[in-house]
Amino acid sequence: MYIAEIFASGFRCFSESAPLSLPLKRGLNVLVGPNDAGKSAAIDAVRFTLWTRGDDYQRLEAGDFHVTADGQRETSLLIRCSFDGLTGAEQSRFMEWCTNESGTLRLHICLRGTLRPLQGGGFAALTQYRAGKDADGMPIEGDLREYLRATYLRPLRDAERELRPGRRSRLSKILGALPGMDVQAKPAGDGAQPTLLDTMRAAEQAFEVNAGIRAVESDVNTKFLGDLSFADDPLKAKLGLGTKGSFDQLLERLELQLDAPPDHIERLNRGLGYNNLLFMAAELLLLQSHSDQVPLLLVEEPEAHLHPQHQTLFMQVLEEKTAPSGANEQRQQVQALISTHSPTLAAGVQLDAMIMMIWHRTYSLARGRTRLESDDYDFLRRFLDATKANLFFARGLLIVEGDAENILLPAIARKIGRPLSKHGVSIVKVGHRGLFRYSRIMQRADGAAMPVRVALLPDRDIPPDAAKVLVLDRLTESEWTAEGIAAHIATLRRDEGGSVVAFPSAQWTLEFDLCRNPDLANEVHTAICLAKGAAQRTRQQIVDDANAELNGWRALPDQSIDSIAVKIFEPLHKKRVSKAEVAEQLAALIDGLPDDAARFRGKLPAYIVSAIDHATGV
C-alpha cells in the first residue's frame, strides 16, 4: 500500500480553512519550494501520525497547533494519511481498521490532537490515533502501529553516531531485521560454516581463558569486591565481550564504516556527507528487504553535505529504488517523500514526481494536473537542468530567450528600484525554444492561478524595413499585413493564463529595441564598441569615439530612428561581437548612469518595465 493523500488541518501552517491536501503517487514524490512553504510541516505530519523507526519519537506540542491570522492558537488539529492500493495480505491483516468505500478497502490513519490549557498556565497536547476518515474507527495500536512506521532520514542527521556500536544502536536494529540474519542468530549445524553466533561465542571463550583477563578479574574480585560484599551475597565481576546474552547484544557490537585503504589500521573518518550516504544505504537496504513494514521513506533535504554531482547520483539511485519492481525481482516498491530546495536535485527528478509548495499550498506537477502536455514532460526532462531548476523556488519568474536578457534584466530592474534578488525573482534562460513549455509548469489544469508571477519575454522578431540590408530575404515590418502581425502576436500570447503573462518585445529583439531608444542608443552603441575593443585605445577613448560616431550618424541626412538603430545593431546581428559581452558592458554602463528610478523607467521600452513590474509583483 502507499499513501495516496496527506491531509492536515490546524497543524502548523495549515489552517482549518486552507488545510494541506497533498496527493501522492506510488514511487517517488519530491516536494520542492522555498523556505517556509510548509515542506517540513508536510513531512512532519506523516511522522507524527505514522511514527518512524529508530528512537526519534516526537511528541505533539502546543507549537504544532496552527495560529490563525488574528493570532489565536487553534485547539484542535487533524492529520490524516490515506493509504490506497492495499494488497490482499494487507487487506486481510488490517481489515477492521479499513473503510469500505463502495467495495474498495482503504486505510485512513488519523491523528487528532487537542490542546487543553492547564491550570496555572501552559498547555497539554492530547493525542488520539484512530483509523477512519474522521478518526472514528479503531485505535491504531499493536500490529498495525508497528507496520506503519516510516523510515525517516532527517536533515543533517548525525550519521556517524547512528552507525556506531552501542546499546540500542540503529545499526543493530537494521542488521537484526535483515532476512539473512536469522540463520546467523543460531548455532551452525554439524559441519557447516560457523555462524556469527558461533564466532562470537568462540571469541568469548578465548577471552575467558586469557591469562591477562583472568588476572584482572581476580584482582578486582579479591581486592575490592570481596570486601564490599555481604557474606550471603558475594559480588563477582566478570570481564569479557559481554555477548553471552542475546544475539541482539552481539549485533550492538558491530559497526558499519567505509572501508579504509588496506594499509590503514586506524579508524578512518570520512566526511559527514559520505557517512550520510552510508546511513541511507543501510536504511534503504532494510526498507526494501523487509515485508513487514510499509515501505515508506521520508527524506528531508538530502542535499545537505552532498556536492552537486553526488546529489544527482543520489537522485538516480532513489529513482531506481522507487520504480515498480520487475517481474523477477523480490523487492517491494518503495514510496518516497522527499523535500528539497536544491536545484540540482530538482533538476534530476522526473517532472511528474514533483510537487511544488508555495505559501502552504501544494501544486502537484503530475501529468494531468498542469497544462503541460505529454511531450512537454519529455522535452523538459531533457532540457530542464540545474541552471533552470531555480524556477521551482522563485516567487516570480522572468522567462527569456537569450543571454542579453539574462544579463541585462537584473541591472535594469535594480535601476528602476525593483531589484530581482530582493523580490525572489529568478530569470530562466531557455534559448529559442520552449518558452511556453516552461511557463506551462506554472499553469494548472483546473485554471487556478499559482502564486508565482511569470513574465514571458519572447522576441516579436519582425525586423524594421531599414534592416532589409541585414536580413535580406526575411519579411520586414511593411511586408507583413496587419492581420499577419496580429496573428503573430496572438501566437506569442496564446499560452497566457493564470499568473502567466507574455510581454513580447516592441519590434525585433530586446537589444534592437534598446538601439531604437534615443535615450539609450548611446549606451548600447558604447557597449558594443567596448565589447569589440580597439587596439591601442583606452576605455575612455573608446567611449568618446563611440559617442562621436553615433553623433556623426545622427547628423547624416535622411536618417530615421530605425536606420540609426540598424547601424548600431549591425555588429551584433552579424555576430562580430559577443551578445553576452555587450550585455555585460551595457549592464555596467546602466549601473553607472546618474538617473534615479523614475527617470530611468521613462527611458525604457514600456514592455520591459511592465514585465519586471509583473514578475516582482506590482
Partner: protein, 651 residues
C-alpha cells in the same frame, strides 16, 4: 446549572446556517432549544426533530466548558444514533459531543456500558454473548437434555419459555460463582420455581449465565438490580450527565423506561423527544410506554408532506391528538383502491399505474415507492378474516428469513460476516463477527492460550499471534480469501475442508463428535444464494419498482409514494383484540362518526399503523381496502376531500 447562550435572532440565523439552511424561528422550536430542564416534546412526523436536536447540541457547544460532565443522548435504534452522529460530525464545534465526556448511543448500549457490564464484572461472572438469537439457540438445545423436559407434556411451550428466559430484577447476587439457580421472569403459564419444571428452567438460566450467555433484557434487569443495591450509581450518573436527551421516546418502554426514569427523574434535565402517535409495538411484551406530559412542547409543523395528507393523518392521532400543519407548497395525490377476492392481485399493479400517471417519467432512480401492511408474513391460520397479510396481495413476497435455529454456529457467523462484507458494510463490524466466531471456536475446543488467558473476541488475534509463528496472519488470510471473498460458507463441499484446515492452522484437534463437531458443521438453513439471504421484497410492476414490507420496516423513513393495504391486526382471539385495520379506522380518518379508537386494543393498534404508514409519503398516498368494507357515504366523503377512488373489481 448548565450555561447556555441567550437566543437572539442573530444566533438562530447562525445556527440555521451551520446546520445547513434550516430555520429555527418557530416559537416551540425556540422553546426546546432554550430549555435545559426536564421536558417532553411531542413531535409530528417529518418535523425535523433530529435536526433540532443537533442544533441544540451546536448551541450548547458554544458554552459547554466542563470536561467532566457531558450530555447524554440516548436513542432506541442504531440508525437514529448514526444519524445524530453523522450530522454532528459535520459541525466543527458540536463534533465535541461525539466523544468523552458526552455519550451518544442506544438505550441498550447505555445500560450495558454504564451499569450492567461493570456490575457483572464486579461479580466475576463471565460475559460471552449478549444476543437474543444466540441465547435462544443455546437454551432450547440445553433444555432438551434435562430430565424435566422428558417428563413435561407440552414440550413446544417449554422450548418457548426456555428461549426467552430472563432474570428477574429483584434478586441479590454476591461476587463469586453463579448460584445454582437464578430466578427468572414469569411468563404466562410458565411453571413457578417451586415445581420441578420451573426449577429446571432456573437451573438452565444459571447454567447459561455461567457460560456467559445473556439476553438483551437480562442487562436491564441486572442494571435494575445493580442500582437497587448501590443507589450511589444513580448519583454518580446524575453528576456525570446534567442533561439527558431521550430520542425516539415512544419506542422506549417497560423496564427500560422505568430504569431511565429512576436514573434521571430528578436533579438533571431529562428531555424526552418522540411522537406518541407512532408507538408501534413489535411484539406483545410491551409494558408501559411513554406518555408525554400535558405541557409537552408540541412540534406540529411537518416538512415532509402537504396540508391534505396532514389533515388525513391528524384525524388518526389517537394516542395524543395533534393538529399537524402540512406544507403549503406540497400538493399530493391520494387514492382509494377498492378490491374484492377476485381482483386482489390487481391492487399493486394499479398502484404502479397511479405512480406512472402522477409523476413525470422516467422516474428518478432515487424514487422510493413502498407497499406496506400491518401484517406481512406468511400466515397459517385458515379461515376467518381476509386478507390476512401482505402475501395475500403478492404471493411471491417473502420477508427476510426468521431467525434460524443455529445462529451461533461458526458457519452462520462466518456467513453473516461474508454477507456484510459483500454489502460493503463497515469492515470493523465484519471482523467483529469473525472474531466472535473464532473466539467461540477456541473456547469450545479448550484452546490453551499462553498464560492461561481467557480467549474472547477482543484478544483472538493477539492470542493467535502468541505462538510466534504468525498464525494470526495465516488465519486472517484464510478467512479473507475463502470466507469473505470466497464462497465456503455457501457450499457444503468446501466448508468441510475449510474448517479442517482452519482447525489445523490454529492447532485444534477435531474429535468425531460432541459440541465442537456441532459448532463446526455446515448450516444449511436459509441458503438461496450468496447475498440473497432468501428474502424477496422488491418487485417490478410495469416498469415501476415497488418495495414491499411491514409498516414497521418503513418506520423513521421518508418515501415518495406509499400504498397501505388492508390486513388483519391480530392481538388475540378475543373480539376486542383483532380487527381489519383500514376498515376499522377509515370512517374516523374521513371524519364520519366518532368512534373511540382508543378504547379497543386492536383499533388503537390499527390507527397507529395507518398513521405511521400514511405519514411516510411525500406526495402519493394510496390505501387498498376491500370494497365491501366501505360505505357509499365514506366514498362520498373521500371524494369531497380530494381523494381519487378507483375500483379494481370490474377492471
Amino acid at each position: 446549572m448548565i450555561a447556555r447562550p441567550i437566543l437572539t435572532d442573530e444566533l438562530l440565523r447562525q445556527l440555521g446556517e451551520e446546520i445547513g439552511q434550516c430555520d429555527f424561528t418557530s416559537e416551540h422550536q425556540k422553546e426546546f432549544l432554550a430549555r435545559v430542564d426536564s421536558c417532553d416534546v411531542q413531535a409530528a412526523p417529518g418535523n425535523g426533530k433530529t435536526t433540532l436536536l443537533v442544533a441544540k447540541l451546536a448551541l450548547l457547544s458554544r458554552t459547554w466548558a466542563s470536561r467532566r460532565q457531558g450530555v447524554c443522548v440516548i436513542s432506541h435504534t442504531n440508525a437514529a444514533r448514526r444519524e445524530v452522529e453523522n450530522r454532528l460530525s459535520d459541525h466543527s464545534r458540536a463534533a465535541a459531543f461525539l466523544s468523552y465526556p458526552h455519550f451518544i448511543g442506544t438505550v441498550t448500549a447505555f445500560i450495558d456500558q454504564f451499569i450492567a457490564l461493570p456490575y457483572l464484572r464486579g461479580l466475576g461472572w463471565p460475559i460471552r454473548r449478549i444476543d437474543d438469537d444466540v441465547f435462544a439457540a443455546v437454551a432450547t438445545a440445553r433444555i432438551q437434555e434435562k430430565a424435566a423436559y422428558r417428563a413435561y407434556q407440552q414440550k413446544h411451550r417449554l422450548d418457548g419459555w426456555s428461549a426467552i428466559l430472563e432474570v428477574s430484577s429483584d434478586q441479590h447476587w454476591e461476587p463469586g460463582p453463579v448460584p445454582d439457580r437464578l430466578e427468572v421472569k414469569h411468563r404466562p403459564g410458565q411453571p413457578g420455581g417451586h415445581t420441578r419444571t420451573g426449577a429446571a428452567l432456573e437451573q438452565l438460566k444459571s447454567e447459561l449465565a455461567r457460560d456467559g450467555f445473556y439476553r438483551f433484557g437480562d442487562m436491564t434487569a441486572i442494571a435494575v438490580q445493580a442500582i437497587a443495591r448501590f443507589p450511589v450509581i444513580i448519583e454518580r450518573l446524575r453528576d456525570r450527565f446534567p442533561l439527558v436527551i431521550l430520542d425516539e421516546a415512544q419506542d422506549t418502554r417497560g423496564e427500560q423506561l422505568r430504569l431511565l426514569t429512576t436514573l434521571f427523574g430528578e436533579r438533571v434535565g431529562f428531555q424526552k423527544l418522540g411522537d406518541q402517535n407512532q408507538t408501534l409495538y413489535e411484539d406483545d411484551e410491551g409494558g408501559d410506554g411513554w406518555h408525554p406530559a400535558a405541557d409537552a412542547i408540541p412540534l406540529n409543523e411537518t416538512r415532509r408532506f402537504g396540508a391534505e395528507i396532514a389533515a388525513f393523518a391528524s384525524r388518526l392521532t389517537v394516542r395524543r391528538p395533534q393538529e399537524i400543519a402540512g406544507r403549503a407548497d406540497m400538493p399530493s395525490r391520494r387514492t382509494l383502491l377498492l378490491f374484492d377476492r377476485h381482483s386482489i392481485a390487481r391492487v399493486l399493479p394499479m398502484f404502479a399505474e397511479e405512480i406512472r400517471g402522477y409523476y413525470p417519467q422516467p422516474l428518478p432512480a432515487e424514487h422510493e415507492a413502498w407497499v406496506v401492511a400491518s401484517r406481512h408474513k406468511l400466515h397459517r391460520q385458515p379461515g376467518g378474516s381476509w386478507p390476512k397479510s401482505l402475501t395475500d396481495y403478492h404471493p411471491e413476497y417473502r420477508a427476510a428469513a426468521d431467525r434460524g435455529r443455529r445462529p451461533g454456529c461458526l458457519c452462520s457467523v462466518m456467513r453473516k460476516a461474508a454477507l456484510k462484507y459483500s454489502a460493503h458494510d463497515d469492515p470493523r463490524e465484519v471482523m467483529n463477527l469473525v472474531e466472535q466466531g473464532l473466539a467461540e471456536l477456541m473456547r469450545i475446543s479448550e484452546y490453551a492460550a499462553a498464560m492461561n488467558q481467557r480467549v474472547h473476541a477482543g484478544n483472538v488475534w493477539r492470542v493467535l499471534a502468541g505462538d510466534g509463528k504468525r498464525t494470526d496472519l495465516v488465519v486472517r488470510s484464510m478467512i479473507y480469501g475463502q470466507v469473505l471473498q470466497g464462497v465456503v460458507t455457501w457450499d457444503q463441499t468446501l466448508w468441510g475442508p475449510f474448517v479442517n484446515a482452519l482447525a489445523a492452522s490454529i492447532g485444534i484437534a477435531v474429535p468425531d463428535q460432541g459440541a465442537l463437531v456441532d459448532f463446526l458443521s455446515f448450516n444449511e438453513e436459509g441458503i438461496v444464494q450468496p447475498g440473497g439471504g432468501g428474502a424477496r421484497t422488491s418487485f417490478m410492476f410495469g416498469g415501476i419498482q415497488l418495495s414491499l414490507g411491514s409498516i414497521h420496516s418503513v418506520k423513521g423513513r421518508t418515501v415518495d409514494s406509499i400504498l397501505i393495504v388492508e390486513t388483519e391486526v391480530f392481538k388475540g382471539s378475543a373480539a376486542n383484540r383483532k380487527a381489519m385495520d383500514l376498515a376499522a379506522v377509515l370512517p374516523q380518518a374521513f371524519g364520519i362518526g366518532d368512534i373511540d379508537l382508543d378504547g379497543n386494543e386492536a383499533h388503537l393498534s390499527a390507527a397507529t399503523n395507518v398513521f405511521v404508514g400514511a405519514t411516510r409519503a411525500k406526495s402519493l398516498l394510496a390505501l387498498g381496502v376491500r370494497k365491501e368494507a366501505v360505505t357509499a357515504d365514506l366514498i362520498e366523503r373521500a371524494r369531497e376531500q380530494g381523494w381519487n377512488v378507483r375500483d379494481v373489481t370490474g377492471a
